[in-house]
């Protein structure tokens, strides 16, 4: 391991921590523009988190220690995920510790703790949110794994950096299997991050909310950590997407500091474009009824399966 690899590793985690709320702010700004509203400032998410950190924490009388531990676990798993995903360079010292399947496992751990914490107080909304979150999760998780498997079949490994490296250094080809899985991945990203058409991050309407329902009992620092974790999750998903589909610009080999220096603006550019695209998709789609969500996710799963079949048929 060269020092530059360690530098990349540290830089990635720091960047994820620093940029994740900004990315969330950018998406909501784009959404506001598209909806002809005045946009909140870009750093609104930071303000929200800072405000929450300066409040007294109120916890339900019958909350168990699990309820207090969960925000830390969720936050730490998202941070660990950020360390695995090759957003700037592919030679990460930490990457052999966890491949893409373990990464999906990390997301599942976070989801499980979130759902259990939501059930802890025993309010109707918490349990309802937990149930819905798990319903979305059990369909989104296999779809995400299928997307990763297609990429893994292409490069015969499940290590995410190796997949990104293979695609980034190979000749640029238009492969139909990646097109199918790209659609599937986008759908999973929308569902997993509580975005329209599955969930609306800016609503508190009882009958439709999923993610917000689980966080209703949280306040102050715990809520701040949960909000921060969900911003990190969105950022992580975006970076997985970049690694699987558009890895160009990441530092791949033994190039040295210049490649790393070039990787930072490349990542920023990708995030800007991805955020705008996400806002566009969200603005153009209407919220689905909760029971239509499985259909949406089943479609994502089928797209991923189609991608795999196309890959096995055409070898591309």
């Amino acid at each position: 391991m060269r020092p530059i690899d360690w530098l990349t590793q540290v830089l990635e985690v720091v960047a994820a921590l620093a940029v994740a709320p900004l990315f969330q702010g950018w998406v909501s700004q784009c959404r506001a523009w598209l909806q002809n509203r005045r946009a909140p400032p870009l750093w609104q998410s930071y303000r929200g988190i800072r405000k929450l950190f300066h409040k007294d924490a109120v916890i339900a009388t019958n909350a168990s220690p699990l309820f207090r531990v969960a925000p830390y676990v969720v936050f730490a798993t998202m941070l660990a995920a950020a360390a695995v995903i090759p957003s700037m360079g592919t030679r990460l010292p930490f990457s052999p510790a966890a491949d893409a399947i373990a990464l999906v496992g990390l997301f599942a751990t976070a989801r499980m703790f979130l759902a259990l914490a939501a059930m802890d107080v025993g309010t109707p909304f918490g349990t309802l949110g937990a149930r819905r979150e798990m319903m979305v999760g059990f369909l989104a998780e296999p779809a995400l794994l299928m997307v990763i498997f297609v990429a893994a079949l292409t490069s015969s490994t499940t290590a995410l950096p190796a997949i990104a490296e293979r695609l980034a250094t190979g000749p640029i080809t238009l492969s139909p299997s990646l097109a199918f899985t790209g659609v599937a991945f986008t759908m999973v990203l929308l569902a997993e991050n509580g975005r329209l058409p599955i969930d609306n991050p800016s609503t508190h309407l009882e009958l439709t909310m999923i993610h917000e329902a689980m966080l209703l009992e949280y306040s102050a620092r715990h809520l701040a950590l949960m909000e921060f974790a969900s911003a990190l999750k969105l950022m992580n998903y975006a970076c997985i997407g970049f690694a699987l589909f558009v890895p160009w610009g990441t530092a791949t080999g033994a190039e040295g500091p210049f490649a790393l220096a070039a990787a930072i603006p490349a990542l920023a550019a990708k995030l800007v474009v991805a955020g705008a695209a996400l806002a566009l998709i969200e603005t153009a789609s209407a919220k689905l009824r909760v029971f239509r969500a499985p259909e949406f996710l089943a479609a994502a799963f089928l797209f991923a399966v189609l991608g795999m079949l196309v890959h096995l048929l055409l070898g591309a």
Binding site: S64, A115, M119, P124, F138, F149, F301, A304, M308
Partner: protein, 686 residues
């Protein structure tokens, strides 16, 4: 005692010195420990009503024996097979015993998992609940010993005797609360299915001997079967061992019998006995049976995937916590059979490294499931004892009243949901890695369809997470749904020790796969399935297919997450010094929340019921708007039971009616039958 071993090749002098030398071999030691189990059980019979002897002394002793067996077997894993002949039973039919890597692996499973269950059992059994504790102790230890003998048996007779002892002793354990009619019925169904399965296994051995009419496993290994007979033997084994393991559609007894038993017995049956059936399947498929084309492995893959999905979907709809766990066992058995089939396909396709990987995934998952499912069943046992409730609709909030049970069960819940860095994830990871090579098999269509199985495995694993959130959330979290739960008490010291042992097993299996996988690789190579490439990883880094391809390092992984949690806590503490206030939860302006306002278990399972509606035979009664006393009830049945078993039972009944014509109950009629038979036989002979 005539003894023969590769390490001590001096079989012919039965003098005392040779016997004492032979007692030093691992096989003899394990045999002695199995006999010790039987002896412990027999001591329990001396004072059957005494809880003191059975609980305080005998069960912990049994646990010590279990640990010793596991240790000896683990040390023997890499050794060459060792044999022994015991001259007991029928004349000229000695019992053949053999200890090889495969049986050693399952002995480790039996010993280590049963140690935790015995410890728990020491504190669990009470006086005045059905069978007396001493008798229960006898049946329990006989059950353990018979499973050990199944693993050591090296001929069909010894195997069947041990197998039937296992079935019978577990039948008596299941029906220990025999005054309840439902439990008697469940026990009968179990006995019936166990015997149908045993019949299939007996026939399978009959085919496997291949005309030599010698029923030692050595003769079966040497026999050459035609492809047709090999297929027949394989299907018989699949039916026999599948019935014992609970493979769909032979699973119907499992959700009835496992919940009916006392919790330590449920744990033993789900955690250990199902694995004995898996052992039998592995023994036949990879050791005794030769000449079967590899694509036959697709049958267990298909059945296994279906069982896995079926089991977990039904688990999601259950409202009884032990039935939920029983259905989850069906899911895990499905995953095990999927792995077995996958290993067969790869083995047949001459892909040794991947075949070994699939087989290791099976063995690893068997070990994992033994620990995590035992842990969960024992957790439900503690809940059942302290609340008297099995129904999820009457539980809740127990994490406050029973913190030890709740936190230890949480380990099992996270493990069985397949979350890293616990053990369930490791076997799932290995199986998915094996699936990712499925497109390389040289069969047309199969190479395209088989990789899709990975998607199904992922779906099942994600559903398992759903089911476990439901299980844990409804039992331990939220508010108590009944006022009686306020008096619930935590488990006793022995029970905690048993739970902690199993939870520790889950953590150890999760963190140290890099040392366990090569040990299990010994099994794959000793069965001739294949070997993993050498030099992959170190003690902390699992890289089964060589260093440059795939890797997973659970210690680093776990360390990072834990360090992340600690750092976050530290950072938050550093910047934030505000107090924490306690307040009642927000009630949306209504009255105070009660246990009744929470979601129910039915409600939590509703999305799954909605999505998989055609799978369930549902009987629902909904209230009308004009009901003065509205009631909502839903009853969920198994379609396979109605479609397959009820017609079958009907035919058996009709057949019995036809036979009843001959059973007049009059002695003169029977004498007439005897005379007619005699005349017929005389006519044949003369």
């Amino acid at each position: 005692m005539r003894c023969e071993s590769n390490a001590h090749p001096d079989p012919r002098s039965p003098d005392i010195a040779a016997v004492t030398a032979a007692l030093g071999t691992p096989l003899a030691q394990i045999l002695a420990l199995l006999c010790a189990w039987i002896a412990i059980g027999a001591v329990g019979l001396v004072r059957p009503a005494s809880l003191k002897i059975a609980g305080r002394t005998l069960f912990p002793l049994g646990a010590v024996c279990g640990v010793a067996i596991a240790a000896i077997a683990a040390a023997h894993l890499a050794q060459p097979p060792e044999r022994m002949e015991l001259v007991i039973g029928l004349p000229a039919l000695p019992m053949h015993l053999r200890l090889d890597a495969l049986s050693a692996t399952f002995l480790v499973l039996l010993g280590a998992a049963s140690a935790g269950i015995s410890l728990f059992g020491a504190g669990y059994f009470r006086v005045g609940q059905g069978t007396a504790p001493g008798l229960l102790c006898f049946e329990y230890h006989l059950f353990l010993a018979s499973m050990g003998f199944v693993l050591l048996a090296d001929d069909a007779y010894a195997f069947m005797v041990a197998w039937e002892t296992m079935a019978l002793s577990s039948y008596f354990l299941v029906t220990s609360q025999h005054r309840i009619g439902e439990i008697r019925r469940a026990g009968f169904l179990y006995l019936l299915m166990a015997h149908l399965g045993a019949l299939a296994i007996l026939l399978c051995f009959g085919v496997l001997q291949g005309g030599s009419w010698r029923f030692t496993f050595d003769a079966m290994r040497a026999a050459h079967l035609s492809a047709g007979w090999a297929a027949a033997a394989f299907l018989l084994a699949l039916a026999g061992f599948g019935a014992k393991a609970g493979l769909v559609p032979l699973h119907v007894w499992l959700p009835e019998a496992h919940p009916a038993a006392p919790s330590p017995v449920s744990a033993l049956m789900s955690g250990v006995m199902l694995k004995i059936a898996i052992y039998g399947m592995l023994r036949v498929a990879f050791d005794l049976l030769h000449g079967l084309p590899g694509w036959w492995g697709l049958v267990p893959v298909a059945l296994g995937l279906f069982s896995a999905l079926y089991g977990i979907v039904f688990a999601a709809a259950q409202t009884d916590m032990k039935r939920l766990l029983a259905y989850s066992s069906i899911e895990n058995v499905g995953i095990l059979f999927t792995g077995i089939g996958l290993a067969m396909v790869f083995h047949g396709a001459a892909m040794p490294a991947v075949a070994a990987l699939a087989l290791i995934a099976v063995l690893y998952h068997a070990l994992n499931h033994a620990f995590m499912k035992s842990l969960l069943f024992l957790g439900t046992g503690s809940v059942l004892h302290s609340t008297g409730e099995r129904n999820l609709g009457r539980l809740g909030g127990l994490i406050h009243r029973m913190p030890w049970v709740a936190w230890l069960t949480l380990v099992g819940v996270l493990a069985i949901a397949g979350l890293p860095p616990l053990n369930g994830f490791v076997s799932e990871w290995l199986l998915l890695q094996a699936f990712l090579h499925a497109h390389e098999v040289p069969y047309p269509f199969v190479d395209m369809l088989l990789p899709l199985g990975a998607g199904l495995v992922a779906l099942v694993a994600a559903l398992a997470g759903y089911v476990m959130v439901k299980f844990y959330g409804v039992v331990f979290l939220g508010q108590p749904r009944e006022s009686t739960l306020a008096t619930a008490h935590d488990a006793g010291r022995m029970e905690r020790a048993g739970l902690a042992w199993l939870a520790l097993g889950c953590v150890a299996l999760g963190l140290l796969p890099a040392t366990i996988v090569p040990a299990l690789g010994q099994v794959a190579s000793s069965l001739g399935v294949g070997a993993l490439p050498a030099g992959g990883g170190s003690w902390w880094m699992l890289a089964p297919l060589g260093p440059r391809s795939i890797s997973y390092a659970p210690p680093i992984f776990a360390g990072t997450v834990i360090a992340g949690v600690l750092l976050t806590v530290f950072a938050v503490r550093l910047t934030y010094r505000r107090p924490v206030r306690r307040a009642p939860p927000w009630t949306c302006g209504g009255d105070a929340l009660t246990g009744r306002t929470q979601d129910t278990a039915e409600g939590f399972g509703q999305p799954i019921r909605h999505l998989f509606t055609p799978w369930f035979a549902m009987r629902r009664s909904l209230p009308t708007p004009f009901d003065t006393a509205p009631r909502y009830s839903v009853e969920i049945g198994d379609r396979i039971w109605r479609a397959l078993y009820e017609p079958l039972a009907g035919w058996v009944d009709r057949g019995a009616e036809v036979c009843a014509v001959f059973q007049r109950g009059r002695i003169s009629t029977y004498l007439l039958y005897a005379l007619a038979t005699l005349c017929l036989l005389l006519a044949l002979v003369l």
